[in-house]
């Protein structure tokens, strides 16, 4: 089925259903917790306030880690690192994707170099590249964001391009051009509205991907050890040789694992619904029993 035709079908208004609303609520809750972590957390996360590897108690609701830091405070602050990486990466990556996709259609001389760069970057294997970049620049939140944004934008650029191309061929754009509108104005008024939904989807999916990557890399020991993140907590937990001998894993490893799972599930649910809305095939299914 022709991609352009698919993307141009008329759409219903976006009406999210129950699961998505719940997901949005959860996401909102996590964002609030991250922002207000300073207020909610019982102790400063970096202070060793208890004896190491203590089970949960009234003074330390989630117990302590191997340095004696309060795990609840670490968990609340961990949300910050994940969300920052997620949102900033998604912002940069989506902007780049959109820009490159649009420009490759509207800016004639830029078409070949832009496409070549996109394809070239797509040919580089993801994980080795990130591992290499982190080893090259050193672990650090900014480096990680840069690496992830750098690798994340090519994938959607082609999709944006396809949408822009299809739009450009439509009658009303031809008419606008005939009436003397400049390329820039056409881009602004005709193309951008059409690709915005695509970018929104990409944004959500990238937030999820970036959060996942950060957790994964931190778990592998390639993360930023100065940033309390869920991945880092998991890393120190799994490095503890007695983690599964006894019940330390319940209060040390499980909470950050659940947090990562929940946030990626929530983002995934919202993003999926968007994609379904974009893809008219599922809409037709609803029309034809």
């Amino acid at each position: 089925m022709n991609l352009a035709a698919t993307l141009l079908r008329p759409r219903r208004r976006f009406r999210p259903h129950g699961a998505v609303l719940m997901a949005a609520l959860v996401l909102g809750g996590i964002i609030v917790a991250a922002v207000l972590a300073g207020a909610f957390a019982p102790y400063p996360p970096r202070s060793a306030t208890g004896t190491p590897v203590e089970a949960p108690s009234p003074s330390h609701r989630l117990g302590t880690n191997d340095l004696g830091q309060d795990l609840l405070s670490v968990w609340l602050h961990g949300a910050r690192a994940s969300l920052i990486v997620g949102f900033v990466t998604a912002l940069l990556s989506t902007a780049a994707s959109g820009a490159v996709g649009l420009l490759s259609v509207t800016w004639r001389p830029g078409r070949v170099p832009l496409l070549a760069t996109t394809d070239g970057l797509l040919a580089i294997p993801h994980l080795p590249m990130i591992v290499l970049i982190v080893a090259l620049l050193g672990p650090g939140l900014l480096h990680l964001i840069a690496a992830l944004a750098f690798l994340g934008w090519p994938a959607y650029a082609r999709v944006v391009r396809a949408q822009a191309q299809a739009t450009v061929q439509r009658d009303y754009v031809e008419a606008a051009r005939a009436l003397g509108a400049s390329e820039a104005r056409i881009a602004r008024t005709c193309l951008v509205p059409e690709i915005l939904p695509l970018l929104w989807t990409k944004f959500l999916l990238t937030v999820r991907w970036a959060i996942l990557m950060e957790a994964t890399l931190a778990l592998m020991g390639l993360g930023d050890p100065t940033q309390m993140s869920w991945g880092l907590t998991l890393n120190s937990a799994f490095a503890y040789p007695l983690l599964f001998i006894g019940d330390a894993w319940l209060w040390w490893a499980l909470p950050p694992a659940i947090a990562v799972a929940v946030i990626t599930l929530a983002l995934s649910t919202i993003g999926q619904d968007f994609e379904n809305w974009l893809n008219p095939a599922s809409q037709r299914a609803r029309r034809n029993p």
Binding site: D119, L219, F244, Q272, R284
Partner: protein, 328 residues
């Protein structure tokens, strides 16, 4: 050969050249010269000066960059990827030992995911309003949305440690003796037993995409007027399904190809968590030891495989779908 095919092949060649050059430069940009990688942290970390000079001479890291590049190109032409700085063995040997494990694991996981996803997708598309279909969709997507490392850890903790049903690492039991037919069967069972958890992790991550693709493609086709006509004419359900599948096949094959294209390092995380001796494991080890030669070899292999599979996909699209024979 048509112009379009030629264009594809030219693009492949260009990208290959870029990959070769990038491959050479990137590992050398890493801080930490190969010698500092050769001595570990947990020992009295210095090699006697004589040994260091020897290493530099052997690996030519004391020569200028241009001379190293020329040597690198010459080696590539001969199929020689140099020697590992850590083990002194030819890189091609090391890759040769690991690649089959990765291919086997990822290849079978992708195949399984495709079959499983397609089967579930067909079931969901056939009766889209049944309770099963409405339940299946979100379930598959939900499970697939879980982070890969969580799925892996979860499987390890519950199936491996708590229930002791599967081993939690490695590809085989060490030094299993294989001497007769019965031994072969035992070895085969051992292989499958060790591959169970890593393969399951991969399938859980990959199957949802195949499920979604099959279901959506089938649903779209099943609503098409021509099938309505066919039903009206009394064509059996099986024939209808087969027609529907013919339309759904191209995107499915594309997805399959895309997943296979990243086969070399696509399972790196899973390999690391399960200590599976594949290319992904080798990547982590090589980065830790600053083993330039091995890193170059891995990158090259991964990129070449990716480019080759993409090229094949593009050429295959020709055959499958005449509409793509216009200019790209």
């Amino acid at each position: 050969m048509t112009a379009v095919a030629r264009a594809h092949i030219l693009r492949f060649a260009l990208l290959l050249a870029v990959v070769v050059i990038l491959n050479f430069l990137l590992p050398r940009l890493l801080p930490g010269s190969p010698l500092s990688g050769a001595t570990g942290d947990a020992t009295v970390a210095f090699l006697p000066a004589a040994a260091q000079a020897e290493m530099r001479r052997t690996y030519g890291t004391d020569r200028p960059l241009s001379a190293q590049f020329v040597a690198y190109l010459g080696g590539l032409r001969r199929g020689d990827l140099g020697r590992s700085l850590a083990t002194h063995r030819p890189v091609t040997d090391m890759i040769g030992e690991r690649l089959p494990w990765t291919f086997a694991l990822v290849g079978s996981a992708v195949a399984l995911s495709a079959v499983l996803g397609a089967a579930l997708g067909t079931a969901a598309a056939w009766r889209p309003y049944s309770a099963a279909a409405r339940f299946l969709g979100p379930l598959v997507i939900g499970v697939g949305a879980l982070p890969e490392f969580l799925v892996a850890m979860g499987l390890i903790v519950f199936l491996g440690i708590a229930l002791r049903l599967f081993p939690v690492g490695g590809a085989t039991t060490p030094f299993l003796v294989v001497s007769d037919l019965r031994g072969w069967l035992v070895a085969a069972r051992d292989l499958l037993w060790h591959a169970a958890l890593p393969a399951t992790t991969l399938v859980i991550g990959l199957a949802p995409a195949f499920f979604l693709l099959s279901r959506n493609a089938l649903v779209a086709v099943l609503g098409e007027p021509f099938l309505l006509t066919a039903r009206g004419k009394g064509l059996g359900e099986h024939r209808i399904l087969w027609h529907a599948w013919r339309n759904a096949l191209p995107p499915l094959v594309t997805l399959l190809g895309l997943r296979l294209a990243v086969v070399v390092t696509g399972a790196a995380l899973v390999e690391r968590i399960f200590a599976y001796p594949g290319m992904g494991m080798l990547l982590f080890e090589a980065v830790a030891r600053r083993d330039y030669s091995v890193l170059q070899g891995i990158f090259l292999t991964a990129s070449v495989v990716m480019l080759a599979v993409n090229l094949m996909l593009d050429l295959l699209a020709f055959v499958l779908d005449p509409r793509t024979r216009r200019t790209p």
